[in-house]
């Protein structure tokens, strides 16, 4: 943590903005991979819809910031509602063709006003909050729909949901601008001053810390959840849903809850990321993107959200570092393409030789390496009889 807090201030190598950008994207993937590890690794809900929830968050804030404005005067041509002393203006959708770009009602009204009326954009933070909430609502709906689905059926269902959402966004050109994507205001559109230092909207340090603390917040919540009865119950749910229910666990509630919580995290990350890169397109929801998150979590360790988060950052860095092409004799190896092959091979080897993931196996070694030795020591202390109540045991009634 100290490393990442200090990193932007101590890094003096080249390509400062590029390195910071990789960190921000790494944090973004870390939120997705760690929240997906809670969903798939802890709760056993192998969903392929996580990137779709990310998209829901991103598109919610994008549409909110794109269509909603506050004006002190009514336009008379837009859909508008009185809001205190001002008006909430909802711009009409006009699609993407360049000839119509100035044909939205607000642009026309502003032309008429000729700068006399100041229009206010919706605050980015409000869009981000809405994005996360709508992500949670989608998570709730999907969670309820997949209650009876397990394993491959759940994966297929969520894959279907993800593709339907992407296709819908692509098709609804009028509203979502389809493949062209929607532009969003920057996280700090007017820059930000922190401790007397003025950062412009393109500076990397503010979004770096926004994404970093978002990741930290998500990890703290995931840690708290994993240590609470929620963590215990969702793992029981993963192991055997019927047995957990027979022992008094409300499996429906926890299955839906884990979907809602992790979807909200994915949507939150998506909304902030969209404001950071200032555009969101349906391609961000592609199954390839989801595969990347899955691969990151699986390579690092899907049953350990900390491993998944660290793994996501490391893999993002590795993938970027591997972009440098090189030549062997007369042959040029184009690493921009071959790096993905390398990534795929690592994934396959991990699945074959370290199914719990590389980092999680290492963490488990340090956390649980002593358990076997302790069991043997306790067994020796107790004597050789195996699994037959000792006299001491027989004296005490089960309670």
């Amino acid at each position: 943590m100290t490393f990442f807090v200090a990193f932007p201030f101590v890094y003096t190598g080249g390509n400062y903005d590029y390195i910071m950008h990789i960190c921000i994207v790494g944090f973004f993937y870390a939120i997705l991979a760690s929240s997906w590890s809670m969903l798939a690794g802890y709760a056993g809900q192998f969903s392929f819809g996580h990137m779709a929830f990310m998209g829901v968050g991103a598109y919610t804030t994008a549409l909110f910031c794109h269509y909603f404005f506050i004006s002190p005067e009514p336009t008379g041509i837009c859909t508008e509602f009185a809001l205190g002393g001002n008006y909430l203006i909802i711009k009409n959708p006009i699609g993407v063709t360049s000839t119509t770009l100035t044909q939205d009602c607000l642009a026309q009204a502003m032309e008429k006003w000729d700068g006399a009326v100041a229009i206010t954009r919706m605050p980015v933070w409000l869009g981000v909050i809405f994005g996360s909430l709508v992500g949670g609502i989608f998570g709730l709906l999907i969670g309820l729909l997949v209650l009876r689905l397990r394993a491959a059926y759940l994966a297929l269902f969520t894959l279907g949901f993800s593709e339907i959402l992407r296709a819908t966004i692509s098709a609804e050109i009028q509203i979502t601008r389809g493949q062209a994507g929607i532009e969003l205001p920057s996280l700090f559109e007017n820059g930000i001053t922190i401790a007397g230092h003025v950062f412009s909207k393109t500076d990397k340090i503010p979004p770096y810390f926004v994404m970093f603390f978002l990741l930290l917040g998500c990890l703290v919540i995931l840690y708290w959840l994993s240590r609470s009865r929620f963590g215990l119950f969702v793992r029981a749910l993963r192991e055997d849903q019927d047995a957990a229910a027979a022992l008094g666990v409300n499996t429906t509630r926890y299955k839906v809850l884990v979907f809602v919580i992790t979807s909200m995290m994915a949507a939150l990350a998506g909304a902030v990321q969209a404001h950071y890169v200032t555009i969101i397109t349906p391609n961000n929801l592609m199954i390839l993107q989801m595969s990347l998150v899955v691969a990151m979590a699986v390579i690092a360790g899907v049953e350990n959200f900390v491993a998944a988060a660290i793994g996501a950052i490391l893999i993002e860095f590795t993938l970027e570092m591997l972009r440098t092409s090189f030549t062997i004799g007369d042959v040029t190896i184009d690493m921009t393409l071959w790096r993905l092959v390398f990534f795929g091979v690592v994934l396959m080897l991990t699945l074959r030789f370290a199914r719990n993931g590389l980092l999680a196996t290492l963490i488990d070694y340090f956390r649980r390496g002593h358990v076997a030795a302790e069991t043997v020591a306790r067994h020796k202390e107790r004597g050789p009889s195996d699994s037959v109540p000792s006299e001491a045991g027989r004296q005490g009634a089960p309670s």
């Binding site: 009865r229 215990l232 119950f233 793992r235 029981a236 993963r238 192991e239 055997d240 019927d242 047995a243 957990a244 229910a245 027979a246 022992l247 008094g248 666990v249 409300n250 499996t251 429906t252 049953e303 649980r368 358990v371 076997a372 302790e374 069991t375 306790r378 067994h379 202390e381 107790r382 009889s385 195996d386 699994s387 037959v388 109540p389 000792s390 001491a392 045991g393 027989r394 005490g396 009634a397 089960p398 309670s399």
Partner: protein
């Protein structure tokens, strides 16, 4: 007092009428054996009682509360616990975590020592305390069976249904399970034991229910059931032929 009232239960799977107007009552800490040939409906009856399967008709009341339409977890909290025919431990959770699940589901806090203390007592009874931090998947089949029984102790239900508790169990471990059943019963819990091992059933139970293709064909004390011609024809006759009464008597001495 514990009271389970099952009335005219019917369950069909497609054209297969698995439970046909099954009615019986359990009053107090009875020790009941539920027997019947394969396909008789024993496990389906368990699943209906535990809420995993909803009946087509009929009612089940536990201590005055109707439970036949409740989900499993609420039935468990109302006071009915069960094990499964095939052991279903939470394999990638530690032994202690397996035991914590029902205790926490009942609303107990795991921050204090109470639940841990209770879990350790359960493990001591099974002499499995040295395995407490191992994953359940590291346990032998028999130990996993004991762990499943231990989880029921943590749930502390009024009625326990054990589905084939002796299947594939070494005689030494069978003693542990006998001990468990007797101890739990002594504490005032009613038990319904499903088993094909007649020796164990006759050794432990004071009342037998016999299911045959969904019909409850007998509900009586073991001696009466053993001599019931309908039961002999449906089920026991074959067993008698194979094992004889001598073996049943031998089981009674364990």
């Amino acid at each position: 007092m514990i009271e389970l009232a099952v009335s005219r239960l019917n369950k069909r799977f497609g054209g297969n009428h698995v439970l046909k107007n099954v009615s019986f009552e359990v009053k107090g800490a009875e020790m009941i054996g539920l027997i019947g040939p394969n396909g008789a409906g024993k496990t389906t009856l368990t699943n209906v009682l535990d809420g995993a399967v909803k009946p087509n008709s009929g009612t089940v009341y536990l201590n005055g509360k109707r439970i036949d339409q409740l989900p499993s977890f609420e039935v468990a909290k109302t006071g009915l616990g069960r094990t499964f025919q095939v052991t279903r431990s939470f394999r990638r959770m530690t032994v202690l975590e397996n035991l914590y699940v029902p205790a926490l589901a009942l609303g107990k806090s795991h921050s204090g020592d109470e639940v841990r203390q209770q879990a350790m007592e359960v493990l001591e009874f099974f002499t499995m305390e040295h395995l407490r931090n191992e994953y359940a998947r590291a346990l032998s089949g028999g130990q996993q069976k004991l762990l499943e029984l231990g989880r029921l102790l943590m749930l502390d239900p009024d009625i326990i249904i054990l589905d084939e508790p002796f299947a594939g169990v070494h005689p030494k471990m069978m003693e542990v399970i006998y001990e468990y059943i007797r101890r739990v019963n002594e504490r005032g819990k009613a038990m319904i034991i499903i088993s094909h091992q007649m020796d164990s059933i006759f050794a432990l139970c004071e009342r037998l229910l016999v299911l045959d293709y969904g019909d409850l064909i007998a509900d009586d004390v073991p001696e009466a059931v053993k001599n019931d011609p309908v039961v002999i024809e449906a089920y026991l006759g074959a067993t008698e032929d194979r094992s004889g009464t001598g073996q049943n008597d031998a089981a009674g001495t364990t």
